[in-house]
């Protein structure tokens, strides 16, 4: 009976396992984030938070599909001032927290990121990739130039590890990743949701109040795995894989494509917060069976570059 070590070192952060709660799913309040960490997540990424409170888009803001979820929450958040207290409350419980931030300009992002770090976040994740909020997310992260400039600006003011979360709605996500690396990001996170839409023929209109939304869940896993694989060939910094992970095998696909850790969002809907524990158990069993002793030994092996 071997015993695989699930621990992961990520830019100096020590995670007890490679799973993290993805930004935007059950992470707007401290109480919930603590519950999810207790259920097994190695770390939690907060809801993306900006300078001022935002209500987000009107309802309907989710469409449940057989292949995943389409959402247009519209980045609702209480603003960084209020949210700092939530971050502190989560930290008090000993949970590793990555603070996700949004902003309409690099200065705004830098300001929010600094406050997020000051509140005690163990790392800051820049959401450069939300596909459905005007002036935020993708709109400031769609070109390599933008990504590099924003990362550099935030890097200046933030000492904790800096993650750049990238959009797959591009012709080359590896160019975005290279830009993030040049800008000083310590790691990249891929992928955010794919821009999508669902229409109700009976109503003759898009279902989401915002019309456009972001597709997540099993549908996007092949795209996410491909993105991580491409990025792994393009940069030296670590990658966090996200998109459609709900089982250990899914997580392993990302890890072997090149991800040092994974994030899980939509599967919390289908499998509940217990999904983290279940993924870890699957991964651990696989490692025992296939003779891997550390998660790090599996990272990127699908490139034929087994270390």
């Amino acid at each position: 009976m071997a015993m695989a070590d699930l621990g992961v070192d990520l830019c100096g952060l020590r995670l007890r396992n490679p799973t993290m709660l993805a930004s935007g799913v059950l992470d707007e309040t401290a109480g919930t984030m603590v519950e999810v960490a207790r259920a097994g997540a190695g770390a939690v990424v907060t809801k993306s938070v900006g300078r001022s409170p935002r209500e987000g888009h009107a309802n309907p803001c989710v469409v449940e599909l057989e292949v995943g979820l389409l959402n247009a929450m519209g980045l609702p958040n209480p603003g960084i001032e209020y949210f700092s207290e939530e971050v502190k409350a989560v930290k008090r419980e000993g949970v590793t927290v990555v603070g996700s931030v949004i902003g309409g300009s690099e200065d705004e992002l830098a300001e929010v990121a600094a406050l997020m770090a000051a509140a005690g976040a163990d790392a800051v994740e820049l959401n450069l990739s939300c596909p459905h909020a005007k002036g935020l997310g993708t709109e400031i992260g769609s070109t390599p130039e933008d990504v590099e400039r924003v990362c550099r600006r935030v890097r200046d003011v933030v000492k904790v590890p800096l993650f750049a979360k990238l959009t797959p709605n591009t012709s080359s996500i590896s160019n975005l990743a290279k830009a993030a690396e040049r800008g000083g990001a310590d790691a990249v996170v891929a992928i955010n949701t794919l821009k999508g839409m669902a229409i109700s023929p009976e109503a003759g209109m898009p279902v989401l109040a915002n019309r456009f939304g972001g597709l997540s869940g099993p549908a996007i896993r092949p795209v996410g795995v491909r993105c991580v694989y491409e990025i792994y060939d393009a940069v030296e910094i670590p990658i966090m894989g996200v998109g459609g992970i709900s089982t250990g095998r899914d997580a392993l696909e990302y890890i072997m494509a090149g991800a040092s850790a994974v994030q899980v969002g939509t599967a919390v809907w289908t499998r509940g917060p217990a999904v983290f524990k279940s993924i870890c158990e699957d991964v651990s069993r696989f490692m025992d069976e296939y003779g891997y002793s550390k998660v790090g030994d599996m990272v990127g092996v699908a490139h034929g570059t087994r270390p």
Binding site: G31, G56, P76, G217
Partner: protein, 260 residues
């Protein structure tokens, strides 16, 4: 991962009182009493509504409040709305003598409970509270199901004059009950919690919070780490007591706690 949205036609739309209406839909929906659906009025809004009728021609009973329910109130037979659900955990019946306390439109999720419990051979007493006599909803329906209906009105225009909690309290005084079920304004719930705790009576209450996703991903309905949409909307007394926010604060649409 079931495809969630179901487009259904309105089968019937009826006034229950001046501001409360019942809308029935074509088709079936099986659900436990206390479960809810998200109702989409195309082009307007989507919001949570308890099922006041389950099975064939399932339906909701709602108070006309703001833009969403106003738009809903204009729909007529044959119009199409979107339904997601049923969601959440419903009431779970325990014991033989039940006291159900419903305030205002809180009768929507409790009426199916009353019907299910009487059908299961239980003795059900219902305290039906409203502002005034004209606002009483489902009095006849619940009486016909075999429940003992005790009416209370704030203005005394019918039955007991005062809050439903007052009438409930005096019933509990007189008679022994095995469990209490309640739905209504949050103050009513917290009052009933005090009464039931004192008497060591099991109690369940249906709670409301802002709902966006309805499926446990967005955190907008969070209540001290639990979620009204998936862990609730019905909670037991133990859980209710653990909620520090109950009766005090709720999240607004940005996720900030605001006073109730």
């Amino acid at each position: 991962m079931a495809p969630g949205l179901r487009m259904v036609r309105v089968a019937e739309h009826r006034d229950e009182s001046r501001s409360v209406k019942t809308m029935r839909f074509q088709g079936r929906m099986e659900a436990r009493p206390g479960q809810f659906v998200m109702v989409w009025v195309p082009g307007v809004d989507e919001f949570p509504m308890s099922l006041s009728h389950t099975g064939e021609r399932f339906g909701i009973t709602y108070q006309v409040l703001g833009d969403g329910t106003k738009a809903l109130s204009k729909l007529t037979e044959g119009d199409v709305v979107g339904i997601r659900g049923p969601f959440g955990r419903g009431f779970s019946e325990a014991g033989k003598r039940l006291l159900v306390v419903a305030g205002g439109v809180g009768i929507a999720p409790t009426a199916p409970l009353v019907e299910a419990a009487t059908k299961a051979g239980k003795e059900v007493h219902l305290v039906l509270g409203a502002k005034s006599a004209e606002e009483l909803v489902f009095e006849k329906r619940c009486a016909e199901s075999g429940a003992r209906v005790h009416v209370s009105t704030d203005d005394g225009s019918k039955g007991y004059a005062g809050f439903a909690t007052g009438l409930a309290s005096s019933l509990l005084e007189k008679d022994a009950f095995d469990a209490v079920y309640t739905c209504g304004p949050e103050r009513m719930i917290t009052t009933m919690m005090g009464i039931c705790k004192e008497r060591r009576l099991p109690m369940q209450a249906s709670v409301e919070r802002i709902m966006k996703c309805g499926i446990g991903v967005c955190d907008s309905c969070a209540l001290d780490g639990k979620h009204v949409c998936t862990d609730g909307p019905v909670f037991g007394l133990d859980e209710l007591e653990r909620f520090k926010e109950l009766g005090k604060t709720r999240l607004d649409r940005t996720g900030r706690k605001t006073g109730i």
